[in-house]
Symmetry: C2
Subunit: 200 residues, 2 copies
């Protein structure tokens, strides 16, 4: 029994990506079960069967650890495929967003934002800007530009301000109406707002 | 000297609206100079030359006091006048918003939101919903409906979702770009987004 307990509590010899994956899984588990306030570097180290020192070698604080853990699970927008229609491509993109926001990870992220203090929230906002907001803007501008090339999108609609409408409406929807957003909202947003706004 | 000090520290005999105005002024002064965290019921009572008990008779907490004080200074959207053009009416409304958000009171409100804890922020969000968001939605739907009556606005654009685009974009702008927003943004938002979206 004693030997078994010793084996279980002994740090496992894992390096690089393998250890990192175990740490991220432990961090996300603790985040979704107990929230950010109750998450500790020590708790994550214990759950991942490694030492606290191994965590602090990579992350200066739990905010940075949580950001890296979220980064590892967020889908990477590697561009929307050419579907031959700006409307269909926008719908695919918006539905992907709504699904992510309505998922368990989306809920954890939203709860996290509400829980963070001001300085932590600023740090987190920068992460969201680089990881979510900027790639989304580029993806929408791609869709609009491709549609203008096909002659179905008004060339004057291929602007950063028009590209802001989708993320602005999703943010406003979640701030004012809560979750779940539901896929019906994606269709309404595309057909009632985006299509009239961009059509040639 | 002693008599003068006594007179200054003695509660002034004022009732109803007059006392309320003095309390609101003192609360807003403390809010803009020292922030919400350092504002106390005692400090406001002292600055307004009344007793703490007089404050607690009306407001259960400083959150409620601050909300009433802000409510007393926020402009009341009593509808946008008929200017004969939906574009001009939207521009007037959006410019009014941008000016309010760029004002000293707008700055204090934004700082306040960042400073509040989660439960306080929820309470404050309800106030903003009733005091700002809902009246704005009604004002925009009025403008769109009037424009549809004139034949310049597409009847299909007179919807709550289209009316959300203005507040959503303003919220997104202030969240992602900070202040001041500037009146140029009002013109861009109206001419680059709203006009193409609603025109017949």
């Amino acid at each position: 029994m004693r030997a078994a307990a010793e084996v279980l509590s002994r740090p496992m010899r894992r390096r690089g990506k393998e250890l990192e994956r175990a740490i991220f899984e432990a961090a996300l588990d603790q985040l979704t079960s107990g929230g950010f306030a109750r998450l500790t570097m020590e708790g994550v180290a214990g759950a991942a069967r490694t030492g606290k020192a191994a965590l602090y070698r990579r992350w200066a604080s739990k905010v940075e650890l949580v950001i890296d853990a979220l980064d590892s699970t967020l889908p990477r927008p590697d561009g929307t495929p050419d579907l031959g229609s700006a409307r269909d491509e926008l719908l695919l993109l918006v539905e992907g967003f709504v699904e992510a926001m309505d998922s368990r990870a989306g809920g954890a992220m939203q709860a996290l934002m509400a829980e963070l203090d001001h300085a932590q929230a600023e740090f987190f906002k920068d992460f969201i800007g680089q990881r979510v907001t900027e790639p989304t803007k580029i993806a929408i501008l791609d869709i609009l530009g491709r549609g203008a090339g096909r002659g179905e999108v008004r060339p004057g609609a291929v602007t950063p301000l028009v590209a802001d409408v989708v993320p602005a409406m999703l943010l406003y929807r979640v701030k004012s109406g809560g979750r779940p957003i539901g896929l019906g909202y994606a269709t309404e947003l595309v057909d009632e707002v985006m299509v009239p706004l961009i059509r040639a």
